[in-house]
């Protein structure tokens, strides 16, 4: 399913396909024409994707076909072994956790999992965790500390689930605890926002030494829809809210909220999941390698300073 602004790209690539089919059917050589059109397609993709509005990036961040946490876990990590359950309430399928190898190193991996289609999405609660999910994540933080394993988190959630049971079980309490627990990790932690970084539900597993974001991912205090509903009393003003919230990778790098942006293939991660995942994997190995030279104290101090210094202030004159 194409995003609205991808239509010209899709039309052109359909034309190229048709031409190829025609050429082979008629056994004629159209390679010159085809390569001309391919050049045009590449330029068109560049033009469209270089100039995406913030709202269009929100759409890319949520695009069907974009690699999910489990896609990364299965392709970037080796021998992933899922560990289930929070030992209190249940097992939250919106938060996948386990042990794996990354570049030959044992790591604890925590991924916020959206479904790849509607059926899966319902099973995964659209990537919106309940308190149980955050409790499971905290269990993994404890395990990482105990065995000295680095932590990798993959962030992709519209937000923590806003439901009756979630509130009754202390959604706010577990998010706060998870933020606190993660900030106290004695091991290296790297977080990657792979799609949607939805507010506190994302931050709960985002208190890492290094926070990276994919080029077309977003990270925001509130969804553009909810923001628009509050400020303009109209959720359809979401594009305006997306602009105002400065929630794109480039914006967040400028604000110091993220430390680095991982480039996506032209056309977005959903156009070439394999290439995207390879890039993320390589970057994760690099970051973990760099952090592995830091002592426990240095890791704690670096993480503390990273978050303690967030914000923009002015002196009262």
């Amino acid at each position: 399913m194409a995003l609205p602004f991808e239509k010209p790209i899709d039309d052109l690539s359909d034309r190229i396909e048709d031409m190829r089919a025609y050429a082979s059917e008629q056994n004629i050589d159209l390679s010159e024409e085809i390569s001309l059109l391919e050049g045009r397609l590449e330029r068109l993709q560049h033009d469209v994707f270089e100039n995406l509005t913030r709202w269009q990036r929100v759409q890319v961040a949520r695009a069907p076909g974009r690699p999910t946490a489990l896609d990364y876990i299965q392709s970037v990590f080796e021998t992933f072994t899922e560990l289930h359950g929070d030992r209190t309430l249940g097992d939250d399928s919106a938060m996948v956790t386990g042990l794996a190898l990354l570049g030959g190193r044992s790591v604890v991996v925590i991924g916020q999992q959206k479904g790849r289609d509607t059926k899966e999405n319902i099973g995964r609660n659209f990537g919106m965790a309940h308190p149980s999910g955050y409790r499971k994540a905290m269990r993994m933080f404890n395990m990482a500390d105990k065995f000295g394993l680095p932590v990798v988190t993959l962030i992709d959630t519209p937000g923590a689930y806003p439901g009756v049971a979630a509130e009754e079980q202390g959604q706010a309490w577990v998010i706060a605890e998870s933020i606190q627990r993660m900030s106290q990790l004695k091991v290296p932690a790297v977080a990657v926002v792979i799609g949607e970084g939805g507010s506190g539900g994302a931050l709960a597993v985002g208190v890492a030494n290094r926070v990276l974001i994919l080029e077309n991912a977003i990270y925001s205090v509130i969804s553009p829809e909810s923001c628009a509903a509050i400020l303009w009393r109209d959720a359809s003003q979401a594009p305006k809210a997306a602009e105002a919230l400065k929630l794109t990778a480039g914006d967040l790098l400028e604000l110091g909220v993220v430390d680095g942006v991982i480039k996506e293939p032209v056309g977005g991660a959903h156009r070439d999941p394999q290439a995207t995942m390879r890039c993320v994997g390589a970057r994760l190995e690099e970051e973990l390698g760099a952090l592995s030279s830091l002592s426990e104290t240095e890791l704690l101090e670096q993480r503390y300073a990273r978050f303690r210094n967030m914000g923009r202030l002015e002196s009262v004159t």
Binding site: P162, Q171, S199, I230, L231, M310, G311, L313
Partner: protein
């Protein structure tokens, strides 16, 4: 979300409104006509039914700090406009207006005080400033208060009243949740108590950060305390919410709070907690403090 209501209201019902039309107030709870001056003298409790109105930050400090003991720390920093945010009006204008009205640069008042003789740092949120929302300044003042309290050997008492993270500072507001949380570590290391008082309303990013990390968490009666607001949840589940859902008494039952304490009892209760935790309670002091056995005052 409480913040939503705050934005929606043309003129928020403010218990510190001094306009002529606001001389009298009809109680939300019992419909009694209350003379506003009486409300102010009565700790912002309905003179008839005791309903807890939102309390201005200065009145809260006056109520909690021993007379003449409060030394203000906050007020030297103000908000920037990192996003150049503009909705129906520019964020800087909103900030300016709120600062002028509330006579402080942002939605927080912090300082040193003694509380029945206990050395404390107070951090009191001002709901009448942008719905008590937490942006860079609120986060910074809370973090500074926690760290200075640790250095000076003071316990920390926060009084939350907030619509959540401040949208107009975007992801930087979100990051204040982490900032306030990491700053609490200094108190833990110094083995100093942190008591969090939740008042109506405490929601969103404030509930999901420092406010629920107190060694002891108490709330005022009937306070709305939540992560997602009732409206958001109703939209999600499309069902009526349970009676008393997300109110203090409900959360006490669910095990999320240590107690629900009425405003007139709050100071004595905080002093009791602090002195018990710090081992400074003497038998003579016990008589003076007078704990409430059975707790949950409603």
């Amino acid at each position: 979300m409480a913040l939503e209501r705050w934005f929606r209201r043309k003129r928020p019902t403010r218990s510190d409104d001094n306009s002529p039309a606001g001389l009298w107030l009809k109680c939300d709870e019992c419909n009694a006509q209350i003379y506003r001056k009486d409300l102010e003298k009565n700790l912002y409790l309905c003179t008839e039914c005791g309903h807890h109105y939102k309390m201005p930050a200065d009145a809260r400090v006056a109520m909690l700090a021993d007379a003449g003991s409060f030394e203000r720390w906050s007020g030297t920093i103000k908000g920037a406009d990192p996003l150049a945010f503009e909705d129906t009006e520019p964020y800087v204008k909103r900030l300016e207006r709120a600062a002028e009205r509330q006579k402080r640069p942002d939605a927080i008042l912090t300082g040193a005080a003694s509380l029945q003789g206990e050395p404390v740092a107070l951090a009191v949120m001002d709901f009448f400033f942008a719905g008590g929302s937490m942006g860079s300044v609120v986060g910074e003042e809370i973090a500074r208060a926690a760290e200075r309290a640790a250095r000076e050997g003071r316990s920390l008492v926060t009084v939350a009243a907030s619509g959540g993270a401040r949208m107009q500072e975007g992801a930087l507001s979100l990051m204040q949740m982490a900032k306030t949380t990491v700053a609490l570590e200094a108190l833990s290391r110094a083995k100093l108590p942190f008591i969090s008082v939740l008042t109506d309303p405490t929601t969103g990013g404030v509930t999901a950060s420092f406010a629920t990390l107190g060694d002891i968490i108490v709330s005022e009666p009937q306070a709305l305390i939540c992560f997602a607001g009732p409206r958001v949840i109703q939209q999600t589940i499309k069902q009526d919410l349970p009676e008393g859902f997300q109110r203090a008494e409900f959360l006490l039952q669910k095990g999320m709070l240590d107690d629900v304490v009425t405003r007139p009892n709050l100071k004595a209760r905080l002093a009791l907690y602090l002195s018990l935790l710090r081992g400074t309670l003497t038998p003579t002091a016990t008589a003076a403090v007078g704990g409430e056995p059975g707790g949950a005052a409603v």
